[in-house]
Symmetry: D3
Subunit: 167 residues, 6 copies
């Protein structure tokens, strides 16, 4: 009943003040979403380079060029969002004490994602993937989950850090 | 050079008519996004049931109730979107010939996601997860990737079909 | 009052389990949204072909080219979404029994929308419109509403299947 | 070829300055999208009033209450967006000269949509529908398309102004 | 308590009918969001003109051209949205009586934003900024807040109407 | 001309590799968007507390409760996005050298925004505003723009850090 509930607000809130520091909290965080977004950026660059092999671009090629750049852009934003969520919602003092490089690494992912967005540059995308894999590795370590590297089962066939759930 | 490109449109398009049947095509499809969304729905129901254990709800509990329902809703939509993308973009005649149940299974996922959205009903969510796991299993089979079942490394600790990339 | 409500959860949910299979349910479904989206794709192709008539493209033409492709892309996605909603939320066993072609037709709309998105190809867009009109015709039939074909009152002046509400 | 194109920018832009005053321009405007959104708001209120008939609300009812309000909210925003597009993109001086009430009518739709969003009030929704129907009637008149009123073929079975395309 | 609340619906709604005419209402309206969006459009045109200075465009330049046009497009839409919100939610009869030009000014902003979206035309963007500044000036006047003009502290270094909060 | 452009890709990219590290770059960053979002959260809490003053909630009050919580939620997300953009796109090594607290401050804003989202707690919102004002102050300092504190000219009438542009 609302009336009583509100009568107990202070108590409720003091309880919340000590306990509630993350969203919902659903505790379902997984760097795979960020990793998939980087893979998509790499894939877009590979396809842009296939267009590059042509001596001239047809109208369809021009349109495809624009679609590829737009997808690269969108997934670059997604990388930033996904990392921001894990960094800003999951990572708290205990994780920062254990992995003091997390602020610097997270920030360097933002800069690397910007560079990969602004350029058609595979090495910039691979540099971003390397940072996101490092982030994923630390994330799984912080949860006590072992990891392994494997080639993702689709293009662009890059090495991804996965949690070892089979063991 | 645009002028030439447009001069060659007919040729270009006849080429495209036989080859182009999917978006971009980036070929990066992964059912994990749909699986994560179902796990989130299950988690929301678990948290809604924790609220249920309380004899009355504070204003914060009321707000949390609304936030949990909204997240469940949003992730139910995400399940539908992710399955629609794989069903509508990746699955073509060869996959339908090999797995004739795909239309029926995909459609049943839509109905199951609606049911899980409209109710605070864990069994409806688990039924949805079971269907999405079946879909994931077929998806990986169709790509010649072996799968295994493992408990996801976060709440709600359900069994998920994963591609076996370690082998 | 919340307390009693939660006390009666089992009863409530068993009721829901048998009755609830669609979203909200608001029962307001109309294929016109999908039809409008296809018309927009056709219109974009017509405008892209007007650009094609030019011997060279100015910077504004280049920008317009990109805007037209982006709009075609966005509306191609909208077609998929709108059809997915009717197929996945409205169409259930009774409609599937009456119109067994609905899975195949819905899936072929997804593939046709992808093709129309990826190409500057009027015939691909017209093929998509034909399929969406077939879908609209079945939809209205399933509701016992007669239909008629008429030219839409705006560009690209294509024949659209409309419900006959005047009778 | 870009170089030449840019060399001719001034000429190009002076041309554009006299001709280009609307988006794209695709010329595909249809008030049906706004009308469908109002119908959805009315439907949400009807369903909210069905909940009202219950002596108490279960947890599922509470969740449904929130989902209905959220849908009403979202569709109220959609009404505003759809009317803003036609008013701001399609309606220009000639339409304003012919229908001087358009600014006042469009603005009153915004206020009526706000009222319908903020209240669970069927009469406020019906008032909004009446204004949107008036807007649709003027829109079709301005295009020289006759209109008729008919009951929409789904709940909430309200009278809608439709273009007469069968004639 | 829900039961009683619903028993008192008529009384509640009659109260709402006379009082509720805006969203939420949060009363936090600020034209700065629209002004920032116009500044971004101007900035995109300046950067597009920097590309113009090049004798030819690399693939990166082509991609950047598309990104700049897309950003200009997106911010043109944002201008329309932000002005629609203030015009449609905040401006009511008292403001219309005091500033009878508001309908015409708001509508002219929509047309000017469309023109600025469709062209790479700095003068069109500056014309839009002038109108949005006029709108901002009237808005602050209507709230009894004095304004001043100053150069915004970032590119494109244009004169913006700001509320004078320092006095 | 595309052919030449692509022929010169390596050269182009090596140029880009040293120069391009931010999005677009449009250089238009303004913390006012984040500040407005926090003000909205505070306002939502004030309105939620007005509801609190009522002995019972009508159906409209229940709906308003949900709308207020949803707006608070949405603006909490906006605070995080706006701060992420400035931290991740604008702040680079020079700013970090001058203001070494920026990582810690940005991260603490994410945690504070989560807390303000999850609770109906004015003090949590005010704590968030204080952090965002600190962030704004450093941002303007880093650009050599003096700041001053003033009460925002709308509810919730809180002290905001503004750039001093009048001087």
């Amino acid at each position: 009943m609302f009336y009583n509930a509100f009568a107990r607000l202070d108590e409720v809130f003091s309880f919340n003040k000590v306990s509630a520091h993350c969203d919902i909290p659903c505790k379902i965080y997984d760097p795979i979403s960020a990793q998939l977004a980087v893979l998509t950026m790499i894939r877009m660059v590979d396809l842009l380079e296939e267009l590059h092999a042509k001596s001239e671009l047809s109208a369809n090629d021009q349109a495809q060029f624009g679609r590829l750049v737009a997808q690269k852009e969108e997934h670059g934003l997604k990388v930033k969002e996904e990392i921001r969520v894990i960094w800003g919602d999951y990572i708290k003092q205990p994780q920062l004490d254990a992995y003091p490089q997390l602020h610097e690494l997270s920030h360097s992912i933002m800069l690397a994602a910007s560079k990969a967005k602004q350029n058609i540059d595979k090495s910039a995308c691979l540099e971003l993937l390397d940072k996101v894999n490092q982030f994923a590795d630390i994330f799984w370590q912080s949860k006590g989950v072992a990891t392994f590297k494997a080639t993702c089962p689709y293009p662009p066939a890059q090495q991804i850090v996965y949690p070892d759930l089979k063991a």
